[in-house]
């Protein structure tokens, strides 16, 4: 009797463990593996087992239907969840996918138990040790390839850059503009920032030193008489040339046709 439903009992056990693992909030490969089976395999596998309890398919055919039907059930569940107030969230997905799996498993267990044709689940992979070793080596090489590709992107020889911005006053603080710098260069950079109203300098920072990825922000007070504010950024290793430049046109009027 147990041989007939061993696979379904395993699916039920793994589904229950998956619920615990996912609800625990852990973020690691264990959760990803449980999620993979819960989303892509179990719902379809158990539904096919329930539908074709007397005349099971070969394993490869069952696998095709298991994945295809799991995807279909998830998509249909997604449509259903959309119309529900709780929407498509982690908890609602867990309930939907686990419900389908557990319900179909129960149905399959009942149907198989009474089936005179179904004897036991057979899975004959018959790998030898050298074959297993080669498979392991294959996985290792694939990870090396992915590592190389990722490393290639990380080490991409892109020229660095610096962002400079000047945002107009927000409605809740109409007398201050916001200026900011972000260093996306490849090295540590020392900057000088000059803010003027076109003629006179309003504010001046001589040495803003930022490491790669670091950001700096400050407020600029605006006078009602100011029509224009310019912010010019210099690199202190090249102080003569403006590196970045932004401006705010205050009290701007449309000059449209």
């Amino acid at each position: 009797m147990t041989r007939k439903i061993a696979d379904l009992l395993l699916v039920i056990a793994l589904t229950l463990i998956a619920i615990v693992v996912i609800l625990s909030g852990m973020q690691n490969i264990v959760r990803v593996l449980f999620a993979t089976t819960l989303v892509f395999v179990f719902p379809g596998y158990t539904l096919v087992a329930a539908m074709f309890a007397h005349h099971p398919f070969r394993m490869e055919t069952h696998l095709v239907f298991a994945i295809a039907l799991s995807i279909a059930m998830a998509v249909l569940s997604g449509l259903f969840l959309h119309f529900m107030p709780w929407g498509l969230r982690t908890e609602s997905w867990l309930v939907a996918l686990a419900s389908i799996t557990l319900f179909a498993s129960a149905l399959a267990i009942i149907r198989r138990s009474f089936s005179p044709y179904f004897s036991s689940v057979r899975l004959h992979l018959n790998f030898t040790w050298p074959q297993l070793a080669m498979s392991g080596l294959t996985v290792l090489l694939v990870f090396i390839a992915i590592g190389l590709a990722r490393n290639g992107i990380v080490n991409e020889t892109q020229a660095g850059f610096t962002q400079l911005w000047l945002l107009p006053p927000a409605s809740d603080s109409p007398d201050t503009a916001q200026v900011g710098i972000r260093n996306e260069e490849t090295t540590f950079v020392s900057y000088r920032l000059v803010v003027s109203d076109g003629g006179s300098t309003l504010q001046n920072w001589d040495a803003i030193e930022l490491a790669p990825g670091e950001e700096w922000q400050n407020q600029i007070d605006i006078q009602p008489s100011d029509d224009n504010i310019n912010a010019q950024l210099y690199r202190n290793d090249s102080p003569a040339s403006v590196y970045r430049s932004v401006s705010l046109a205050l009290n701007g009027e449309s000059s449209g046709p």
């Binding site: 990803v32 095709v64 239907f65 997905w93 074959q131 294959t138 590709a149 962002q163 970045r244």
Partner: protein
């Protein structure tokens, strides 16, 4: 197995084939998988080196492809290997080719269409609901199958959309390979035909990159293949019952209908044609009822979903189809010159040897298709003289002949392959190229099968030495595979490399991503922003803003950027789109657009640019005193143009 025991009939003679000893184990599967993994390492090196401009990187990339594909081609050509080795090889090779795409960009989406669906998936994750408007592909939220399954996995696994998308498509690829093999095996009643046809399917021009990217067809096509397999299976269902198979297939049909419009239409059409042929053709009428029921249900489901979406796909697909047919007719009537083959909009030519492979692959396909058709149509039952001759044949041989002419789907396939030469002519037109390219994955359902039986038929007709046939077969099928890759993806986009202007994946780089991320952090998501083609993708995904697009706004914003001044037309565009910000990338002034457009397909001047836009035109906002330049990162500037949006 039928093929292994098959006697080959040639004219009135029956030629016995020595019954080979069939291996029952995994055979060479593991060594070949190891070899393919090594090839993947070479591909990863090729990608990294191409970014540095190393000249041999492209050669290494192609070597990797051959190393992945050719060993499998050799093994499946043999008669005496086990079915499970064939299945394993097809799955392993399909997965390895998917990993070639993953290695291109293992941490990001980089291909144009991936951004379109990434936005929809992100909206689902953020809102917990479907159908949020997507400005960069308005049809995408209404066909959310891929995004639903991806976000389901993202929610449950805790991974990002990108990681979830890559794993989802990996699982789907395994299912696709199995379904493809089983489908062909079921039609051909032979493991060898199944594996060869599945491998030939890899030669369609969209298999390699297009149907590996995070886009709706990458899910719908495998599901449609599984549906075809189930429908085929129900013809021969023993004890499984039509109703149960119908219950199995219905959720899949609904999923395809809400995942991808084009696949759904093609699938409905194919099923209708299949049931019609089954009804008309002699000896297949009893198949027609069940297929007809599935076909009608498919048609109803697809029509219902199309209606639910407001028939949005029509406006998306019809201009492409209409334009292609119009250009095709004009080409036939000699009213206009054709598109220059192997040449991009910016004048970039495909390398010489890739052109040779591309042409050779077409010759190889067209050359063998007639033999496949002959295998289908040349029936010993048709001619009484032949009938006399075949009485000496065994029941297995009779079944072997019977399997083609009495299978309505094979007859439909025979009809579909006739479309292939027509699609080749479409490739000579600009709009028609899109139709030819997008149809290849569907037409290849038929072509792969007809080619497989044609190639196997050639072996018996010509009585070639087995080693020579095997060597020729491996070269033939590998060229078809490589030719498909060459035809389906532009050579400059095949490997990651240095920045190019308006070149989709080759234009995505850190400065653009950082600007879009900044915009997403500091600008109001409700304020409209406009940018060029590539920065629009980044603003919609990394920034989650609402960029102006022709699809969403029904106008082309490009004159606002490319004109020398803001005139009445540009004011009108700004006001109609309620434009608040304009993002200018000054690199547009450095080269012609690689894909033919700077902003969107169909923009004024599309595909006909002679010179890049001038830097003076692009930076005209700097000379307008009422415009604020609120952001500057070197090449990219963002202007607040809302003042132009007000009434004067």
């Amino acid at each position: 197995m039928a093929t292994q025991q098959m006697l080959i009939a040639q004219g009135q003679r029956a030629v016995p084939v020595t019954k080979a000893k069939v291996d029952t184990g995994w055979g060479w599967l593991q060594p070949i998988m190891l070899f393919q993994a090594f090839a993947l390492v070479l591909v990863a090196i090729a990608y990294t080196e191409n970014k540095k401009g190393t000249p041999w990187a492209t050669g290494l990339f192609w070597l990797g492809q051959v190393m992945i594909f050719a060993p499998t081609a050799y093994r499946v050509s043999l008669t005496a290997i086990a079915r499970k080795e064939r299945i394993g090889l097809i799955v392993a090779t399909g997965l390895a080719l998917y990993l070639v795409k993953v290695l291109y960009t293992p941490q990001h989406f980089l291909f144009h269409d991936e951004f379109l669906h990434w936005r929809t998936a992100t909206d689902i994750l953020l809102t917990g609901h479907l159908f949020t408007a997507n400005p960069i592909l308005t049809v995408s939220p209404l066909y959310p199958g891929l995004e639903i399954i991806t976000t389901a996995f993202a929610n449950v696994s805790g991974l990002t959309v990108v990681e979830s998308g890559l794993i989802t498509l990996g699982v789907v690829r395994v299912m696709f390979m199995l379904a493809l093999y089983l489908f062909y095996e079921q039609i051909g009643r032979s493991a060898q035909i199944g594996s060869i046809a599945a491998l030939l399917y890899f030669g369609n021009s969209n298999f390699f990159y297009f149907d590996s990217q995070f886009s709706y067809e990458s899910l719908s096509l495998p599901l449609a293949t599984a549906i075809l397999y189930i429908v085929l299976l129900q013809q021969r269902a023993r004890g499984r019952g039509f109703i149960r198979l119908l219950i199995l297939v219905l959720p899949l049909i609904v999923t395809v209908a809400i995942t991808h419009h084009l696949t759904a239409y093609v699938m409905a059409g194919l099923l209708l044609a299949w049931s019609l042929v089954a009804f008309i053709a002699p000896r297949t009428r009893r198949q027609s009822l069940n297929i007809g029921i599935v076909a009608i249900l498919t048609f109803v489901i697809v029509a219902a979903w199309t209606r639910f979406t407001g028939n949005i796909a029509e406006g998306y697909l019809l201009p492409v189809i209409g334009g292609g047919i119009g250009e095709f007719i004009a080409l036939i009537l000699n009213e206009e010159g054709g598109r220059q083959l192997f040449q991009g909009a910016a004048g970039l030519m495909t390398p010489f040897w890739e052109r040779i492979i591309g042409i050779l692959s077409i010759i190889f396909v067209v050359g063998v298709l007639p033999f496949g058709l002959l295998e289908i149509w040349h029936s010993p039952f048709r001619n009484p003289v032949h009938l006399k001759g075949i009485r000496v044949l065994t029941a297995n041989v009779l079944r072997a002949w019977y399997r083609y002419r009495n299978n309505a789907l094979v007859i439909v396939f025979a009809g579909i392959v006739v479309l292939y030469p027509i699609m080749l002519i479409f490739r000579f037109t600009s709009s028609g190229w899109e139709i030819a390219n997008r149809s290849s994955e569907f037409i290849f359902w038929a072509i792969a099968f007809v080619l497989a039986i044609g190639a196997l038929g050639l072996r018996s007709y010509r009585r070639l030495p087995p080693q020579l046939w095997t060597a020729g077969f491996v070269v033939w099928i590998t060229v078809i595979f490589l030719g498909g890759s060459v035809a389906g993806w532009p050579h400059w986009a095949r490997l990651p490399g240095p920045y190019m202007v308006s070149a989709d994946a080759r234009s995505i780089e850190p400065q653009g991503i950082a600007a879009a991320t900044w915009a997403g952090s500091y600008l109001d998501p409700q304020d409209r922003i406009a940018a060029d083609r590539v920065n629009t993708l980044l603003l919609a995904t990394y920034g989650l803003l609402m960029p102006v697009t022709h699809q969403y706004d029904n106008l082309y914003i490009s004159p606002v950027f490319l004109s020398s001044q803001i005139g009445s037309n540009e004011y009108d565009l700004i006001r109609r789109t309620d434009l608040h910000y304009a993002l200018v990338d000054d690199r547009l002034s450095t080269a012609l657009p690689t894909v033919g457009v700077y902003f969107e397909a169909g923009e004024p001047g599309a595909d006909q640019y002679i010179d890049p836009p001038s830097l003076t035109n692009l930076t005209k906002f700097d000379r307008m005193p009422t415009i604020s330049r609120i952001f500057d990162s070197g090449h990219i500037k963002i202007y607040d143009v809302s003042v132009l949006n007000r009434d004067p």
